[in-house]
């Protein structure tokens, strides 16, 4: 059974996908890769809100590190010790699965990386990250979609063969474009994040004391219900829960969305290229890198990556997952135990096709003079080089197409070589 159109109603789409035992006859294959006897899978995960790269992967041996972050700094000898990577960097302790992958050579970390965007607006930053253009607001298509054009340049190519697969209720810009997109939504919605709730409360406190009081009381009740083990009652799978935002819901959503994407990509006749997005990384207040909110989110992400590996099965060996975010955060902690919008951050690659177990970084240092505009981790690696490297070596996207169509104007950004095994 194959859907005749990619604009099916969401629930119908879901029913089709889950209901039909057989997946679609995907004609799309990275042809050159196939010719080499490979069947590569590529999944991109956008972390919206700007992940604090220094909190995810900390430069524990940088002499200025502890000075910079103080009590919030991850350290190898902390109460919750960071997980050692290469002697200089260490991984957030909330990510044991990624650590294991790293040790097995199936995870690579690129540090001090950034897209070409140098301002600090989320929307514009995400726009640049996903469009693949150097400036925001310039395109309504994404680089991943255009990369498919690079794979099958022939105009008479079978249309259905170029579908990109998107997971989540919102199709990311990353995959929008000429090549048809098929999307699947998990039956559960991404929960309202704690961050969103706190922002709303803050808005109410400034503008509407009545609503502020109501929201505070409701949140208090929710906390009591949670502590007392009063379960969230979901009237049905399609309806949002009564109380949202608990980390358990976030974990469940991340794992379900990522795990399902992996199932589709793993299927012999399933799609080969997909994308999804996880929100919630904008940690201005009480970041909690070691054992708070960010640690929880990273833990949920770690679980999602584990779910991908499990569900990929044998296809894991031909898989690359790229986790990217619009920009990083300030090198220092702000006045609210959080971090503000910054510049460079980490990109994480995971997958059995990688030559992993490495942190790739042209480390800029953390002294004030080393920081970008004296506040952010300085970008020394162009994120596009990483993505171009993967697209070229893994999917065999033509290098000229990469420079002209996928990341226009990136001729001077050389695809990073040697990322794949």
């Amino acid at each position: 059974m194959r859907p005749q159109t990619s604009s099916l109603h969401a629930s119908t789409r879901r029913e089709l996908l889950l209901g039909s035992g057989v997946l679609f006859a995907w004609a799309f294959v990275p042809r050159l890769a196939r010719a080499e006897g490979r069947d590569p899978r590529f999944l991109t995960i956008v972390l919206r809100g700007a992940l604090d790269g220094l909190a995810a992967v900390a430069p524990v041996s940088d002499p200025d590190w502890i000075k910079l972050r103080g009590d919030s700094a991850l350290r190898l000898d902390g109460k919750l010790p960071a997980l050692p990577l290469d002697g200089f960097f260490a991984l957030n302790p909330a990510m044991p699965n990624v650590h294991k992958l790293y040790q097995e050579g199936h995870a690579t970390i690129v540090h001090a990386a950034a897209s070409p965007y140098r301002e600090r607006s989320h929307f514009d930053g995400q726009d640049v990250l996903e469009s693949g253009l150097a400036r925001p607001g310039a395109a309504d298509t994404g680089w991943l979609n255009r990369a498919l054009g690079g794979l099958e340049p022939s105009p008479d190519a079978v249309v259905r063969g170029r579908k990109v697969f998107a997971v989540g209720p919102v199709t990311p810009l990353l995959v929008r474009g000429k090549a048809p997109v098929l999307s699947w939504s998990p039956p559960r919605l991404p929960p309202v994040t704690e961050e969103t709730t706190m922002r709303l409360l803050d808005l109410y406190r400034h503008t509407d004391p009545t609503l502020a009081q109501v929201l505070e009381e409701r949140l208090g009740l929710a906390a009591i219900a949670k502590a007392g083990g009063i379960a969230d009652k979901k009237p049905n799978d399609n309806a949002p829960g009564i109380q949202g935002g608990g980390i358990e819901q976030v974990r469940a959503y991340f794992a379900e969305a990522a795990g399902t994407a992996a199932k589709f990509l793993a299927a012999p006749d399933g799609p080969r290229v997909g994308a999804l997005a996880f929100d919630g990384w904008d940690t201005h207040v009480n970041e909690g890198a070691v054992n708070g909110r960010l640690a929880n989110l990273l833990g949920a992400l770690d679980g999602a990556i584990a779910a991908i590996k499990t569900n990929m099965g044998d296809a894991w060996s031909e898989t690359v997952v790229a986790l990217v975010t619009e920009f990083g955060r300030t090198a220092r902690i702000n006045g609210n135990e959080g971090t503000d919008h910054g510049t460079a951050t980490v990109a994480l690659l995971a997958g059995g096709a990688l030559k992993g177990g490495r942190v790739i970084a042209d480390w800029p240092g953390l002294k004030e003079a080393d920081l970008y505009e004296k506040r952010d981790l300085k970008p020394t690696t162009d994120l596009r080089a990483v993505l171009k490297g993967v697209l070229h070596d893994h999917l065999r996207v033509d290098e000229r197409a990469l420079a002209a169509d996928v990341f226009p104007g990136s001729e001077s950004v050389t695809p990073m070589a040697g990322l794949l095994a």
Binding site: R48, T196, R218, A239, P240
Partner: protein
């Protein structure tokens, strides 16, 4: 005339369904020259308040369709049961035929199971039950009207009066058609006409049990030894007209109940063409004159009840009750006394002309307090969001589900009093609204720019904090969630 953009935004939220993206007259800019005039002009839009959808049948037709459907289903079930019983009996008797029959049954079932591509899709394997289908069709017509109308003041009046004279789908499949037949045609007409249409409508007679009320001294009452049901009579006086604790007594209620005995519906079982329609059945009607609220009504059959309703419709207590509710709905939980007084007087002066009432409300300076006063009811809020984001064909089932989760299930009021118009009643749902906002934001974030939605929906009404909060959101989903949760969007 100077543009009053902020007043325009408030006007569209308070009296309409909120500003609409791509509107001709329902945008902040379009009404800014004269917000009050624009709201008043909505009353003169041709056919405002009416729904013309050829797909929708009359209440009686809907009722009969469901009846026939149920009857056919029953017959089908009976046949199948009989066939099974016969097959079992024959098998017990060792009949070869029966074995074959059973084997055939099995093989056809097996064939069904083995069908490789059969999706376990309940929508395909199980058709939507007819009552649900009728509900969805009626709901779609109502919600699409609210989402797509320009300003929506008349439609808001429809919602108000429908809630005032509420009935429930749990009692009758005709609840949606009831609104089209009893409320909409009179929303800018006379209160007395709406009252007559509502109380004599089969949906109301079923909802408040009058269809089975029998005069104790009527022919049927004597023969069947059954009697009065006071439910409708009481709610007419308490909720629909005079108001609780006003000028009536228990004796008035009982006598009124006697008056409207015989107001019932034709049974569908032996009326395939008119079953479910209103009928005055003299056999059930309590004979004789009845006295209530100080007046004696001769037994003129159905006219006896019509006369009582006509008097109730013009009673000063009714005028005050209706004026208070109208002002409470649109202006404030505790509406200014002077406004209630003005509306009451207008009601009495115009013989309960509801269009004049609406004009008086909108023209009253008390109806234009500076800030936003009330919190939107869930249904209004869900509609306002879709209008702001330019969703012209919203997911109806999703909206119905959300509205129910938010405590205002469509056409299923918790009691004959309808849904509350006190803001306090809706505050508790705030965190559920947050979930709902998130679901909405997830659905539209790919298609709209949060800043555009702020401009459409709030314009200069948006507080600086709200604009900043939206602009600084970490994602479009978060931005849109916070926008529709902002006080300026929650309130009206």
């Amino acid at each position: 005339m100077a543009l009053d953009l902020k007043g325009a935004a408030i006007a569209l939220h308070r009296f309409g369904f909120g500003p609409k993206a791509g509107a001709t007259t329902g945008s902040i800019a379009a009404v800014a020259a004269d917000p009050m005039g624009a709201i008043l002009a909505d009353l003169d839009v041709p056919n405002a308040g009416l729904i013309t959808d050829p797909k929708l049948q009359s209440s009686g037709a809907e009722n009969r369709a469901v009846y026939e459907n149920n009857a056919a289903q029953l017959a089908q079930n009976k046949l199948e049961r009989k066939r099974k019983e016969m097959a079992q009996a024959m098998a017990a008797a060792g009949s070869e035929n029966a074995m074959e029959q059973t084997a055939q049954d099995k093989s056809s079932d097996a064939a069904k199971d083995a069908k490789p591509d059969a999706p376990p899709n309940p929508a395909q394997t199980k058709p939507v039950p007819l009552p649900r289908q009728i509900f969805l069709d009626e709901a779609r017509a109502r919600i699409n009207t609210a989402v797509n109308c320009e300003i929506g003041f008349v439609e808001r009046l429809v919602w108000f009066w429908s809630n005032h004279f509420c009935v429930s789908f749990d009692s009758t499949v005709m609840a949606g058609a009831y609104e089209r037949e009893a409320i909409r045609p009179h929303v800018l007409g006379r209160f007395a006409d709406m009252l007559q249409a509502a109380e004599a409508h089969p949906a109301m007679l079923l909802y408040l049990d009058n269809a089975m009320s029998i005069g104790p001294s009527s022919v049927a009452g004597i023969n069947r030894d059954r009697g009065l049901n006071e439910n409708l009579a009481r709610e007419i006086m308490e909720l629909h007209t005079l108001g609780v604790r006003t000028v009536y007594t228990q004796a008035d209620v009982t006598n009124f109940a006697r008056v409207i005995t015989g107001w019932t519906i034709l049974p569908t079982v032996d009326n395939p063409d008119h079953g479910g329609e209103f009928v005055f059945n003299k056999r059930l009607h309590e004979p004789g004159p009845q006295t209530l609220v100080g007046k004696t009504y001769a037994d003129t059959g159905v006219e006896q009840g019509r006369s009582v309703l006509a008097d109730l419709a013009h009673h000063p207590a009714t005028a005050r009750h209706v004026a208070t509710k109208l002002a409470r709905h649109f202006v404030a939980d505790d509406p200014p006394a002077v406004l209630v007084e003005r509306l009451t007087q207008r009601f009495l002066d115009t013989d309960g002309d509801l269009k004049e009432m609406a004009k008086t409300l909108v023209s009253a300076p008390e109806a234009w307090p500076d800030g936003q006063t009330k919190i939107k009811r869930p249904g209004e809020w869900l509609v306002a969001m879709r209008r702001a984001a330019g969703r012209r064909n919203p997911n109806i089932e999703g909206m119905i589900r959300q509205q129910a989760l938010l405590g205002e299930p469509l056409w299923r009021p918790p009691a004959p009093k309808g849904f509350s118009d006190d803001s306090a009643a809706w505050y508790d749902g705030l965190t559920v609204r947050l979930e709902s906002a998130n679901a909405f934001a997830q659905a539209v974030a790919g298609d709209v720019e949060p800043k555009d939605v702020v401009d459409v929906a709030l314009g200069p009404l948006a507080a600086e904090e709200t604009r900043l909060t939206v602009a600084r959101a970490e994602s479009k989903v978060q931005a849109l969630t916070l926008l529709v949760m902002a006080p300026e969007f929650q309130r009206r």
